[in-house]
Amino acid sequence: METQDEVGDEVRLAVPATPEFLRLARVTASGLASRMGFTLDEVEDLRLAIDELCFVLIGNKGRAGTVDLRYAVNGDTLEVVGTGTFDDGRAAPVLASWSEQMLKALVDEYALFEDGGHTAFRMVKRRLPPPGGDRS
Protein backbone atom coordinates (compact mmCIF):
# COMPACT_ATOMS: atom_id res chain seq x y z
CA MET A 1 0.00 0.00 0.00
CA GLU A 2 2.94 2.36 0.57
CA THR A 3 3.67 2.56 -3.12
CA GLN A 4 0.10 3.27 -4.10
CA ASP A 5 0.62 6.99 -4.43
CA GLU A 6 3.92 6.74 -6.23
CA VAL A 7 3.15 4.12 -8.82
CA GLY A 8 0.39 4.81 -11.31
CA ASP A 9 -2.12 2.01 -11.59
CA GLU A 10 -3.90 1.18 -14.77
CA VAL A 11 -6.87 -1.12 -15.27
CA ARG A 12 -8.37 -2.07 -18.58
CA LEU A 13 -11.81 -3.47 -19.22
CA ALA A 14 -13.62 -4.32 -22.45
CA VAL A 15 -17.38 -4.77 -22.28
CA PRO A 16 -20.15 -5.32 -24.83
CA ALA A 17 -21.83 -2.02 -25.67
CA THR A 18 -25.08 -2.81 -23.86
CA PRO A 19 -26.52 -1.27 -20.68
CA GLU A 20 -26.33 -4.40 -18.54
CA PHE A 21 -22.55 -4.38 -18.77
CA LEU A 22 -22.24 -0.82 -17.54
CA ARG A 23 -22.44 -2.27 -14.06
CA LEU A 24 -18.91 -3.60 -14.57
CA ALA A 25 -17.73 -0.21 -15.75
CA ARG A 26 -19.17 1.36 -12.61
CA VAL A 27 -17.90 -1.25 -10.18
CA THR A 28 -14.40 -1.00 -11.60
CA ALA A 29 -14.45 2.77 -11.22
CA SER A 30 -15.82 2.67 -7.70
CA GLY A 31 -13.36 -0.05 -6.73
CA LEU A 32 -10.45 2.12 -7.77
CA ALA A 33 -11.97 5.24 -6.24
CA SER A 34 -12.46 3.37 -3.00
CA ARG A 35 -8.78 2.42 -2.94
CA MET A 36 -7.92 6.05 -3.54
CA GLY A 37 -9.93 7.17 -0.53
CA PHE A 38 -12.75 8.94 -2.38
CA THR A 39 -15.76 9.65 -0.20
CA LEU A 40 -19.08 8.03 -0.90
CA ASP A 41 -20.35 11.29 -2.42
CA GLU A 42 -17.40 11.31 -4.81
CA VAL A 43 -17.84 7.64 -5.66
CA GLU A 44 -21.51 8.30 -6.42
CA ASP A 45 -20.57 11.18 -8.70
CA LEU A 46 -18.09 9.00 -10.49
CA ARG A 47 -20.66 6.27 -11.03
CA LEU A 48 -23.18 8.70 -12.47
CA ALA A 49 -20.55 10.24 -14.74
CA ILE A 50 -19.41 6.85 -16.06
CA ASP A 51 -23.01 5.88 -16.67
CA GLU A 52 -23.74 9.09 -18.49
CA LEU A 53 -20.68 8.98 -20.73
CA CYS A 54 -21.16 5.30 -21.54
CA PHE A 55 -24.83 5.90 -22.36
CA VAL A 56 -23.77 8.70 -24.66
CA LEU A 57 -21.54 6.23 -26.49
CA ILE A 58 -23.90 3.29 -26.67
CA GLY A 59 -27.35 4.91 -26.58
CA ASN A 60 -30.09 4.04 -24.16
CA LYS A 61 -30.64 0.53 -25.46
CA GLY A 62 -27.07 -0.35 -26.35
CA ARG A 63 -25.68 -1.21 -29.75
CA ALA A 64 -23.61 -3.87 -31.44
CA GLY A 65 -19.98 -3.45 -30.52
CA THR A 66 -17.72 -3.00 -27.55
CA VAL A 67 -16.54 -0.30 -25.22
CA ASP A 68 -12.93 -0.43 -24.09
CA LEU A 69 -12.37 1.28 -20.79
CA ARG A 70 -9.02 2.34 -19.41
CA TYR A 71 -8.80 3.52 -15.83
CA ALA A 72 -5.62 5.27 -14.79
CA VAL A 73 -4.86 6.13 -11.19
CA ASN A 74 -2.33 8.83 -10.57
CA GLY A 75 -2.04 10.13 -7.04
CA ASP A 76 -5.37 11.73 -6.24
CA THR A 77 -6.53 11.65 -9.84
CA LEU A 78 -8.61 9.02 -11.56
CA GLU A 79 -8.81 9.23 -15.32
CA VAL A 80 -11.20 7.08 -17.32
CA VAL A 81 -11.06 6.78 -21.09
CA GLY A 82 -13.79 4.84 -22.87
CA THR A 83 -13.47 3.99 -26.53
CA GLY A 84 -16.35 2.60 -28.55
CA THR A 85 -15.94 0.15 -31.40
CA PHE A 86 -19.22 -0.24 -33.21
CA ASP A 87 -20.27 -1.93 -36.39
CA ASP A 88 -23.66 -0.34 -36.85
CA GLY A 89 -22.54 2.73 -38.79
CA ARG A 90 -24.50 5.14 -36.61
CA ALA A 91 -23.51 8.78 -36.60
CA ALA A 92 -21.07 9.85 -33.90
CA PRO A 93 -22.93 10.82 -30.71
CA VAL A 94 -22.87 14.32 -29.26
CA LEU A 95 -23.35 15.58 -25.72
CA ALA A 96 -26.77 17.02 -25.05
CA SER A 97 -26.86 20.26 -23.08
CA TRP A 98 -28.17 18.51 -20.00
CA SER A 99 -25.43 15.90 -20.25
CA GLU A 100 -22.90 18.70 -20.19
CA GLN A 101 -24.56 20.33 -17.23
CA MET A 102 -24.48 17.04 -15.34
CA LEU A 103 -20.90 16.20 -16.14
CA LYS A 104 -19.73 19.65 -15.14
CA ALA A 105 -21.17 19.04 -11.70
CA LEU A 106 -19.89 15.48 -11.40
CA VAL A 107 -16.29 15.45 -12.63
CA ASP A 108 -13.31 17.78 -13.01
CA GLU A 109 -12.77 17.21 -16.72
CA TYR A 110 -14.70 15.49 -19.46
CA ALA A 111 -14.57 15.30 -23.23
CA LEU A 112 -16.18 13.41 -26.06
CA PHE A 113 -14.04 13.02 -29.15
CA GLU A 114 -13.30 11.04 -32.27
CA ASP A 115 -10.19 8.92 -32.26
CA GLY A 116 -9.22 7.21 -35.50
CA GLY A 117 -12.78 6.29 -36.45
CA HIS A 118 -13.74 5.47 -32.86
CA THR A 119 -15.88 7.59 -30.61
CA ALA A 120 -14.33 8.03 -27.22
CA PHE A 121 -14.77 9.85 -23.96
CA ARG A 122 -12.32 10.94 -21.35
CA MET A 123 -13.09 12.04 -17.83
CA VAL A 124 -11.04 12.98 -14.82
CA LYS A 125 -12.07 13.07 -11.20
CA ARG A 126 -9.78 14.29 -8.46
CA ARG A 127 -10.13 13.41 -4.84
CA LEU A 128 -10.77 16.57 -2.90
CA PRO A 129 -8.88 17.13 0.29
CA PRO A 130 -11.35 16.59 3.13
CA PRO A 131 -12.71 19.80 4.69
CA GLY A 132 -11.72 18.60 8.13
CA GLY A 133 -10.61 15.22 9.30
CA ASP A 134 -8.21 12.77 7.86
CA ARG A 135 -9.48 9.97 5.69
CA SER A 136 -6.67 7.51 6.15
Binding site: R26, L40, D41, E52, G59, A105, G132
Partner: protein, 250 residues
Amino acid sequence: MTFDDEQREDLRQKFAEFAQTRSPKLRDELIEAHLGLAEYLARRFSNRGEPLDDLTQVASVGLLKAVDRFDPERGVEFSTYATHTIVGELKRHFRDKGWAVRAPRRMQELYLRLGRIIGVLSQELGRSPTIPELALEAQVSEEEVLEALEAGQAYRFASLDAPGPGDDEGDTMSSQLGAEDSNLVDAEHRVALWPLLAQLPKREQMILHLRFFEGLTQSAIAERLGISQMHVSRLLARSLAQLRAAAEEP
Protein backbone atom coordinates in the same frame (compact mmCIF):
# COMPACT_ATOMS: atom_id res chain seq x y z
CA MET B 1 -21.37 -22.61 -32.97
CA THR B 2 -18.99 -22.23 -35.80
CA PHE B 3 -19.23 -22.83 -39.50
CA ASP B 4 -16.42 -23.58 -41.87
CA ASP B 5 -15.83 -21.27 -44.79
CA GLU B 6 -17.83 -23.37 -47.20
CA GLN B 7 -20.87 -23.47 -44.94
CA ARG B 8 -20.57 -19.76 -44.30
CA GLU B 9 -20.51 -19.00 -48.01
CA ASP B 10 -23.46 -21.33 -48.51
CA LEU B 11 -25.44 -19.51 -45.81
CA ARG B 12 -24.53 -16.14 -47.25
CA GLN B 13 -25.92 -17.19 -50.60
CA LYS B 14 -29.05 -18.54 -48.98
CA PHE B 15 -29.62 -15.27 -47.14
CA ALA B 16 -29.16 -13.31 -50.34
CA GLU B 17 -31.59 -15.58 -52.12
CA PHE B 18 -34.06 -15.49 -49.25
CA ALA B 19 -33.96 -11.71 -49.30
CA GLN B 20 -35.19 -11.89 -52.89
CA THR B 21 -37.59 -14.82 -52.83
CA ARG B 22 -38.78 -15.05 -49.20
CA SER B 23 -39.03 -18.78 -49.86
CA PRO B 24 -40.46 -20.64 -46.84
CA LYS B 25 -38.20 -23.58 -47.53
CA LEU B 26 -35.09 -21.42 -47.40
CA ARG B 27 -36.37 -19.76 -44.27
CA ASP B 28 -36.67 -23.12 -42.55
CA GLU B 29 -33.17 -24.06 -43.61
CA LEU B 30 -31.73 -20.81 -42.33
CA ILE B 31 -33.52 -21.15 -39.02
CA GLU B 32 -32.43 -24.72 -38.62
CA ALA B 33 -28.83 -23.85 -39.37
CA HIS B 34 -28.80 -21.35 -36.49
CA LEU B 35 -30.79 -23.20 -33.84
CA GLY B 36 -27.54 -23.91 -32.07
CA LEU B 37 -27.03 -20.19 -31.54
CA ALA B 38 -30.50 -19.82 -30.03
CA GLU B 39 -29.87 -22.74 -27.70
CA TYR B 40 -26.51 -21.40 -26.70
CA LEU B 41 -27.92 -17.98 -25.82
CA ALA B 42 -30.87 -19.52 -23.97
CA ARG B 43 -28.44 -21.45 -21.78
CA ARG B 44 -26.69 -18.22 -20.87
CA PHE B 45 -29.91 -17.00 -19.26
CA SER B 46 -30.75 -20.28 -17.61
CA ASN B 47 -29.49 -19.49 -14.11
CA ARG B 48 -32.20 -16.95 -13.43
CA GLY B 49 -35.04 -19.17 -12.40
CA GLU B 50 -36.69 -19.86 -15.74
CA PRO B 51 -36.85 -23.39 -17.22
CA LEU B 52 -34.35 -23.86 -20.04
CA ASP B 53 -37.06 -25.21 -22.35
CA ASP B 54 -39.04 -21.99 -22.09
CA LEU B 55 -35.94 -19.93 -22.70
CA THR B 56 -35.02 -21.99 -25.74
CA GLN B 57 -38.51 -21.39 -27.04
CA VAL B 58 -38.17 -17.64 -26.50
CA ALA B 59 -34.73 -17.65 -28.12
CA SER B 60 -36.12 -19.50 -31.14
CA VAL B 61 -38.76 -16.83 -31.57
CA GLY B 62 -35.93 -14.30 -31.53
CA LEU B 63 -34.12 -16.32 -34.16
CA LEU B 64 -37.24 -16.37 -36.39
CA LYS B 65 -37.48 -12.62 -36.14
CA ALA B 66 -33.81 -12.25 -36.91
CA VAL B 67 -34.04 -14.41 -40.04
CA ASP B 68 -37.09 -12.48 -41.22
CA ARG B 69 -35.61 -9.06 -40.62
CA PHE B 70 -32.00 -9.65 -41.56
CA ASP B 71 -30.78 -7.52 -44.42
CA PRO B 72 -27.66 -9.09 -45.98
CA GLU B 73 -26.92 -5.82 -47.79
CA ARG B 74 -26.01 -4.09 -44.56
CA GLY B 75 -22.72 -5.87 -44.21
CA VAL B 76 -23.32 -7.18 -40.69
CA GLU B 77 -22.77 -10.88 -40.06
CA PHE B 78 -26.03 -12.70 -39.44
CA SER B 79 -24.71 -14.24 -36.21
CA THR B 80 -24.00 -10.76 -34.80
CA TYR B 81 -27.40 -9.50 -35.81
CA ALA B 82 -29.19 -12.60 -34.55
CA THR B 83 -27.38 -12.57 -31.21
CA HIS B 84 -28.66 -9.08 -30.64
CA THR B 85 -32.22 -9.94 -31.56
CA ILE B 86 -32.29 -13.15 -29.55
CA VAL B 87 -30.79 -11.60 -26.43
CA GLY B 88 -33.31 -8.78 -26.78
CA GLU B 89 -36.12 -11.30 -26.93
CA LEU B 90 -34.81 -13.14 -23.86
CA LYS B 91 -34.51 -9.95 -21.89
CA ARG B 92 -37.99 -8.85 -22.84
CA HIS B 93 -39.20 -12.21 -21.60
CA PHE B 94 -37.68 -11.60 -18.17
CA ARG B 95 -38.87 -8.05 -18.08
CA ASP B 96 -42.42 -8.98 -19.01
CA LYS B 97 -42.46 -11.52 -16.25
CA GLY B 98 -41.28 -8.90 -13.81
CA TRP B 99 -38.17 -10.89 -13.14
CA ALA B 100 -35.67 -8.15 -13.16
CA VAL B 101 -32.26 -9.45 -12.30
CA ARG B 102 -32.42 -9.30 -8.58
CA ALA B 103 -29.69 -8.72 -6.10
CA PRO B 104 -29.03 -11.57 -3.70
CA ARG B 105 -30.87 -11.18 -0.45
CA ARG B 106 -27.65 -10.83 1.55
CA MET B 107 -26.68 -7.80 -0.54
CA GLN B 108 -30.08 -6.21 -0.12
CA GLU B 109 -29.75 -6.61 3.63
CA LEU B 110 -26.29 -5.11 3.63
CA TYR B 111 -27.57 -2.26 1.50
CA LEU B 112 -30.28 -1.50 4.05
CA ARG B 113 -27.77 -1.68 6.88
CA LEU B 114 -25.37 0.63 5.03
CA GLY B 115 -28.14 3.17 4.66
CA ARG B 116 -28.23 3.58 8.42
CA ILE B 117 -24.45 3.46 8.80
CA ILE B 118 -23.95 6.19 6.20
CA GLY B 119 -26.26 8.46 8.13
CA VAL B 120 -24.52 7.87 11.44
CA LEU B 121 -20.97 8.13 10.06
CA SER B 122 -21.72 11.28 8.08
CA GLN B 123 -22.89 12.92 11.28
CA GLU B 124 -19.88 11.76 13.24
CA LEU B 125 -17.32 12.71 10.63
CA GLY B 126 -18.99 15.86 9.39
CA ARG B 127 -18.46 14.66 5.84
CA SER B 128 -19.34 11.83 3.51
CA PRO B 129 -17.62 8.61 4.66
CA THR B 130 -15.17 6.70 2.48
CA ILE B 131 -15.78 3.13 1.38
CA PRO B 132 -13.12 1.70 3.76
CA GLU B 133 -14.78 3.57 6.63
CA LEU B 134 -18.14 2.06 5.72
CA ALA B 135 -16.60 -1.39 5.41
CA LEU B 136 -14.97 -1.11 8.81
CA GLU B 137 -18.17 0.03 10.47
CA ALA B 138 -20.31 -2.64 8.79
CA GLN B 139 -17.60 -5.26 9.41
CA VAL B 140 -17.59 -6.40 5.81
CA SER B 141 -15.04 -6.07 3.01
CA GLU B 142 -14.81 -3.01 0.78
CA GLU B 143 -15.85 -5.19 -2.15
CA GLU B 144 -19.02 -6.13 -0.33
CA VAL B 145 -19.81 -2.47 0.30
CA LEU B 146 -19.36 -1.73 -3.41
CA GLU B 147 -21.46 -4.73 -4.36
CA ALA B 148 -24.21 -3.63 -2.03
CA LEU B 149 -24.19 -0.12 -3.46
CA GLU B 150 -24.56 -1.64 -6.91
CA ALA B 151 -27.32 -3.90 -5.64
CA GLY B 152 -29.05 -0.74 -4.53
CA GLN B 153 -29.26 0.28 -8.15
CA ALA B 154 -31.36 -2.77 -8.92
CA TYR B 155 -33.28 -2.52 -5.71
CA ARG B 156 -34.31 1.04 -6.41
CA PHE B 157 -36.70 0.00 -9.14
CA ALA B 158 -38.69 -2.15 -6.79
CA SER B 159 -39.07 0.20 -3.90
CA LEU B 160 -38.50 3.76 -4.93
CA ASP B 161 -41.70 5.08 -3.63
CA ALA B 162 -41.29 3.52 -0.25
CA PRO B 163 -38.99 5.31 2.18
CA GLY B 164 -35.43 4.15 1.72
CA PRO B 165 -33.03 2.83 4.33
CA GLY B 166 -32.26 5.37 6.99
CA ASP B 167 -35.04 7.66 5.82
CA ASP B 168 -37.05 9.68 8.17
CA GLU B 169 -39.30 11.55 5.85
CA GLY B 170 -42.51 12.34 7.58
CA ASP B 171 -43.69 15.82 6.82
CA THR B 172 -40.24 17.18 6.28
CA MET B 173 -40.31 16.45 2.59
CA SER B 174 -43.55 18.13 1.73
CA SER B 175 -42.79 21.23 3.75
CA GLN B 176 -39.30 21.48 2.25
CA LEU B 177 -40.71 21.11 -1.21
CA GLY B 178 -43.24 23.84 -0.64
CA ALA B 179 -40.57 26.26 0.44
CA GLU B 180 -38.28 25.68 -2.53
CA ASP B 181 -40.91 25.16 -5.11
CA SER B 182 -41.49 28.70 -6.25
CA ASN B 183 -38.05 29.43 -7.65
CA LEU B 184 -37.40 25.92 -8.81
CA VAL B 185 -38.42 24.71 -12.19
CA ASP B 186 -39.40 27.60 -14.33
CA ALA B 187 -36.15 29.49 -14.67
CA GLU B 188 -35.69 29.77 -18.37
CA HIS B 189 -32.18 28.53 -18.85
CA ARG B 190 -32.97 25.44 -16.89
CA VAL B 191 -35.94 24.60 -19.02
CA ALA B 192 -33.91 25.19 -22.13
CA LEU B 193 -31.15 22.93 -20.91
CA TRP B 194 -33.37 20.22 -19.56
CA PRO B 195 -36.51 20.28 -21.67
CA LEU B 196 -37.62 16.96 -20.27
CA LEU B 197 -37.20 17.93 -16.66
CA ALA B 198 -40.79 19.04 -16.26
CA GLN B 199 -41.95 15.48 -16.85
CA LEU B 200 -40.41 14.33 -13.58
CA PRO B 201 -42.05 14.44 -10.16
CA LYS B 202 -41.41 17.70 -8.28
CA ARG B 203 -39.13 16.14 -5.73
CA GLU B 204 -36.92 14.64 -8.41
CA GLN B 205 -36.78 17.92 -10.27
CA MET B 206 -35.60 19.51 -7.09
CA ILE B 207 -32.90 16.91 -6.49
CA LEU B 208 -31.59 17.34 -10.03
CA HIS B 209 -31.64 21.08 -9.57
CA LEU B 210 -29.74 20.94 -6.29
CA ARG B 211 -27.19 18.47 -7.59
CA PHE B 212 -26.50 19.80 -11.07
CA PHE B 213 -27.32 23.49 -10.85
CA GLU B 214 -26.54 24.31 -7.25
CA GLY B 215 -23.69 21.83 -7.01
CA LEU B 216 -24.76 20.31 -3.69
CA THR B 217 -23.40 16.86 -2.88
CA GLN B 218 -25.77 13.95 -2.41
CA SER B 219 -25.17 14.10 1.35
CA ALA B 220 -25.98 17.80 1.44
CA ILE B 221 -29.16 17.23 -0.55
CA ALA B 222 -30.11 14.40 1.77
CA GLU B 223 -29.68 16.65 4.77
CA ARG B 224 -31.60 19.46 3.15
CA LEU B 225 -34.54 17.24 2.25
CA GLY B 226 -34.48 15.13 5.38
CA ILE B 227 -34.00 11.85 3.53
CA SER B 228 -31.05 9.48 3.38
CA GLN B 229 -28.12 9.86 1.01
CA MET B 230 -29.05 6.48 -0.45
CA HIS B 231 -32.51 7.66 -1.23
CA VAL B 232 -31.09 10.68 -3.00
CA SER B 233 -28.81 8.35 -4.94
CA ARG B 234 -31.70 6.13 -6.00
CA LEU B 235 -33.91 9.03 -7.01
CA LEU B 236 -31.10 10.62 -9.01
CA ALA B 237 -30.37 7.39 -10.82
CA ARG B 238 -34.04 6.89 -11.59
CA SER B 239 -34.54 10.46 -12.80
CA LEU B 240 -31.57 10.21 -15.10
CA ALA B 241 -32.74 6.88 -16.48
CA GLN B 242 -36.13 8.43 -17.20
CA LEU B 243 -34.60 11.48 -18.84
CA ARG B 244 -32.44 9.27 -21.00
CA ALA B 245 -35.38 7.14 -22.04
CA ALA B 246 -37.45 10.22 -22.84
CA ALA B 247 -34.61 11.83 -24.78
CA GLU B 248 -34.29 8.77 -26.97
CA GLU B 249 -37.93 8.86 -28.06
CA PRO B 250 -38.38 10.60 -31.39
